[in-house]
Symmetry: C2
Subunit: 149 residues, 2 copies
C-alpha cells in the first residue's frame, strides 16, 4: 500500500517516531506546518542578508542556517506526512505526496541536502548567496509539485 | 516604555531580527507557536523514552534534544513576543509577558538554559531523565505564570 510505503521510507530516519506516525492527522499537519513556518522565518532572514536589505552578520547567519539544517528533515523523518494526513486540518499538501511517495521523498531529500549544506556556507555572504540559491531551487521544486496553490 | 524594553532585551540575542520585531503581530504569534509545537513534539518523544513507553535510542534522543536546544531561545531572541503581539491571532500569552518583561525574560531564560543542557545529557537514559525533569520545571514555571489557561 502506497501510504504505508511512504511511512516506511520516512521512519527509516527517526526510529522512535513510529508513535508519531500514529498521531492524529491534525497534529501531524500542524507539526509539519510549524516546522516550515520556523524554516521560512530563518530563510527570510538569510535572504534579507543576501540581498543586502539587512547588514550581513556572520553569527546570526550561521544561527539561522543551523535552524534550517536542523529542522529540514524533521517533518519527513518524524512521519508527519503519514497516512491519512492529506486531510484533517487545512493543508496545501498535494495528494501526489501520497500517490507517488518515492518521487516526493526524492524531492524532499534534495531540500534536506541543500539545507544541511547551509551552515558551512553561511559564514561568508558570498558562499551564503550560492547556498541560498541552491536551497531556493529545492524549496521551489518540491512546492511546485507537492504543494497546492 | 515596557513594550520596547522587552524588545530590546530580546533583540540583544539575535541582531538581524529587528526586522522581525516589526513583523505583523499575527506572524509573530504564528512563529512563536510554531516553535513551541516543534519543541513539544520532541519533548514528547523524549519523555516517552524516559518513561519506557518507547525503547530508548541514543541517536534519536540526541536528535530530539538538539532540536529543543536549537529552537528554545528562538521565539524570544527573534523578537516574536514583540510589542502588540498580545493580540492579532488567538494566543494564550498572558498580558504579564509585556507588563513585567524582566521577570518574563528571567523565566524564559531558565527554560533556554535547561534546553541547551539537554543534548549533552540525552545520550544516556539516566542522565536524560534528570535533564528532562529540569526542563519540565522550567516549562511549567513559565507556562504557569505567562500562559493563560
Amino acid at each position: 500500500m502506497k501510504f504505508q510505503h511512504l511511512a516506511v521510507l520516512a521512519l527509516a530516519g527517526l526510529g522512535a517516531s513510529a508513535a508519531f506516525a500514529q498521531a492524529k492527522p491534525e497534529d501531524q499537519i500542524k507539526y509539519r506546518q510549524s516546522a516550515m513556518t520556523v524554516n521560512a522565518r530563518s530563510s527570510g532572514a538569510l535572504n534579507a542578508m543576501a540581498k543586502g536589505d539587512v547588514a550581513f552578520n556572520k553569527d546570526v547567519a550561521v544561527r539561522h542556517a543551523s535552524v534550517i539544517a536542523d529542522l529540514s528533515d524533521l517533518p519527513l523523518q518524524a512521519g508527519a506526512f503519514g497516512p491519512g494526513t492529506d486531510k484533517g486540518a487545512p493543508t496545501k499538501a498535494d495528494p501526489k505526496v501520497w500517490s507517488e511517495p518515492e518521487k516526493f521523498k526524492a524531492a524532499y531529500d534534495k531540500f534536506t541536502a541543500a539545507a544541511k549544506a547551509l551552515p558551512a556556507a553561511a559564514g561568508d555572504v558570498g558562499t551564503l548567496k550560492v547556498a541560498l540559491a541552491d536551497l531556493g531551487k529545492t524549496c521551489k521544486g518540491c512546492h511546485d509539485d507537492y504543494r497546492m496553490k
